[in-house]
Amino acid sequence: MTVTTNHSGIGNRLLDLVPAAPGPQSRKDFTSDQEVRWCPGCGDYAILATVQGFLPELGIARENVVFISGIGCSSRFPYYLQTYGMHSIHGRAPAIATGLATSRPDLSVWVVTGDGDALSIGGNHLLHALRRNVNLKILMFNNRIYGLTKGQYSPTSEVGKITKSTPYGSLDRPYNPVSLALGAEATFVARSVDSDRAHLTSVLRAAAEHPGTAFVEIFQNCNIFNDGAFDTLKDRSTRDDVTLRLVHGEPLVFGAEGDKGIRRADDGSLEVVSADAPGVLVHNASAAEPSQSFALSRLTGDTHGVTPIGVFRNVDVPTYDEALNKQVADAKAKQGEGDLMAMISGGETWTID
């Protein structure tokens, strides 16, 4: 394996194991010849365009990029990228990607999934991928509905949602994906919005720079079955008043006039106060202790009138794949390469002449 430093400024000790591209790449280099088959107006188009636009920035060889998906509308994503890819089965992409990433440190492995794929049928694999901190970048498109099966409620749908499978309203309470990821010991957790190309690109960049599992929730509009789910975050007239843009090291302040701030309430949760009130917090995504990130994840439009986007948590701890490959390397260094015949004839033997 040739190890070359990447051409771009992006890098980390794991990304540096991926061979560099021979020269500058463009969006076209990452666009496959397959016809894109999402519904017209789907938020997935914007995400695809952003990813195709961002990948060249990584400066790594295209053939060393792999996208693995599960099942659902979002999971068609790999077909549209001129990289290696696998469109696997429902919910299992994190497991499949774990095997690939741990056995091939020279690859940049990405998982594309949806709210049903990742949080419902594949919930277990997502939790364990996050806890294990495998070097994967997981992009979860959250449209709060099942699209490909034509409109049933999902594990992120609001209570009482009227859908084809819940004509009297859905009964179960939704997951908060960011809270879930933080609770699962994720080392990198972020949220962005399909239509905000600049913000999404910045989050993808941060995810790529993170050594370990990166979990990115992307609010994605399903204009067929759940249109307008994130309109208040997208509408120019409302978005600045309801969106808290998390920036590491910056005060937690938002609002069109920058007049609102976040501070800790007496009960330990966070509350919205005037930006000039005492105790407005500064965002620290790299805190070893995730409590403040978790508290931020509990801020929602419904409960606090504000939704944070950006990087909630970003801490650098050893990854599973590094540790596993180190055990292999250490065993070889200490004991020498395996000798098959010595292994099988180990233990007590006897000879019959």
């Binding site: 696997s88 056995s103 015949m341 099988i344 019959i352």
Partner: protein, 627 residues
Amino acid sequence: MSEQVRERETRRLDRVVVRFAGDSGDGMQLTGEQFTSETATFGNDLSTLPDFPAEIRAPAGTPAGVSGFQLHFSDHDILTPGDAPDVLVAMNPAALKANLKDLPHGANLIVNTDSFTGGNLKKAGYATDPLTDGTLDPYVVHRVPLTSMTINAVHALEGGGGVNKKEAERAKNMFALGLMSWLYHRPTGGTEAFLTKKFAKRPEIAAANIAAFRAGFNYGETTESFTVTYEVAPARMKTGTYRRISGNLALSYGLVAAGELTGLSVFLGTYPITPASDILHELSKHKRFGVRTFQAEDEIAGVGAALGASFGGSLGVTTTSGPGVALKSETIGLAVSLELPLVIVDIQRGGPSTGLPTKTEQADLLQAMFGRNGEAPVPIVAPRSPGDCFDAAIEAARIATKYRTPVFLLSDGYLANGSEPWLLPTREELPDLSVTFTTEPNHTGDKGPEFWPYLRDPETLARPWAIPGTPGLEHRIGGIEKSDGPGNISYDPANHDRMVRLRAAKVAGIANDVPPLEVEDPSGAARVLVLGWGSTYGPIAAGCRRVRAKGLKVAQAHLRHLNPFPANTGEILRSYDKVIIPEMNLGQLRMLIRAEYLVDAIGYNQVRGLPFKAAELAGVLEDVINQ
């Protein structure tokens, strides 16, 4: 103790079956293993059958918690762990209760009299004491106060051995081993060395166990209870170097070997499950071979990770038992569609559902064959003995890599935990399975050279294996139907029909790439064929020997490849008047044979969680021959 040196008879036997039985905390497996080790070193042929409860510590003193270990050893080649014990060591009343029914009248019975207390008798379900109520009259009973003699021996060491009474008592299994080693003239040096090493960090425990072991041996010398000792001469076996091996160990070595022979890194994605976990334990030691083991969050993730590793160019392997296969089915179907190598090891156990986790069965054949949605053919390979698990694992990897397909390796609990002497292969005897990845475009399209991931090798019908990191061959694969050749998503009816048939033809074609089915028939004139697969080989062969010894004629054939069957299978089956298929299921191979060849095979089926007995099969064969 008598000072008198008595003349004791030493009787020569050609074979012996011994069984150790005790509470699951009594260390019976260790005792049996160590007796087996002594026996292997001595040069006997042997076969073992551990039998233990699923509970780690079932209620102490009850028949449910009894753990047993049976060993058959001989001066000639043997095929089974033996039908019935010639000697039973019963460490407590429950062990006696659970095992006495298997002991033929006149057999030797060694009982630990110290454990026959009122409480223990009650726990075992004895209303009266079998030591005194005549229950044991039909047997040659040796009453040994094993516990107290062990404690005395240990506490006779300097300073009381530095162990408390409980620790001293725990060495009583070594007392039993010492006594049995004396009774059968086993070499003892290996056991003492083993104990010293095993308890290296607790030398006082090692000393206690060695003291108990020696005390047991010396007790045999001095007691008047035993008037006869036994000798079983070393077996005349094929020349070469041997070791004792269990099926799971041989299978693990086979997988490591397959990695070296294919030139691929082995990646095991798995989840702990009885009786397959020992393969994970073993493979996790062999990192110096580049073997990566991944204990996943569940069975599905285990096989998923293995398949992901195969996509990246590793030899993906997953190990499980029947319930795990059920969970992995969808991913195996994906592997069929992706046409990537994957070895699925199923160590079968009693089912359905949780079933009998520690008992053997071969009832997953149809699950392996058909347990997926759609037309999803998967080749199946089955080992016939513990040592054969090595070769079968290599064969499974050969088919998987050559044909880019998932392959089932169907072992079972009997092979997994049973052991036998294994003639070590030489490096030259192992096949070259080197794999070549595709690195160049394989098609010329309108815009120049292209890579078509589903453009097949015309001979094997295998598709090219181009791994991520190969420039210019970037491609996407998935579980949706693909167009024949380019591999793009295709919903075209004719294409789907073609792809289904191509995948089926690829697997069917393997029949021409496996050795023909061989028939063993010393008479050359048998009219009855007994057909088996998997771990029933030993009992069937032993049954055939018994039948032939009576002057009857019977032919034996044993299938290693269950899907596809060897090309000559139909021809062989049709050349006999009768075909009988003994299986530890309700007739799964028989169903396949009937469906495939329209041969009206007769079934003999038992699902008792135990291997067939040779005498039982001999009786069945005689009946069929004489009908």
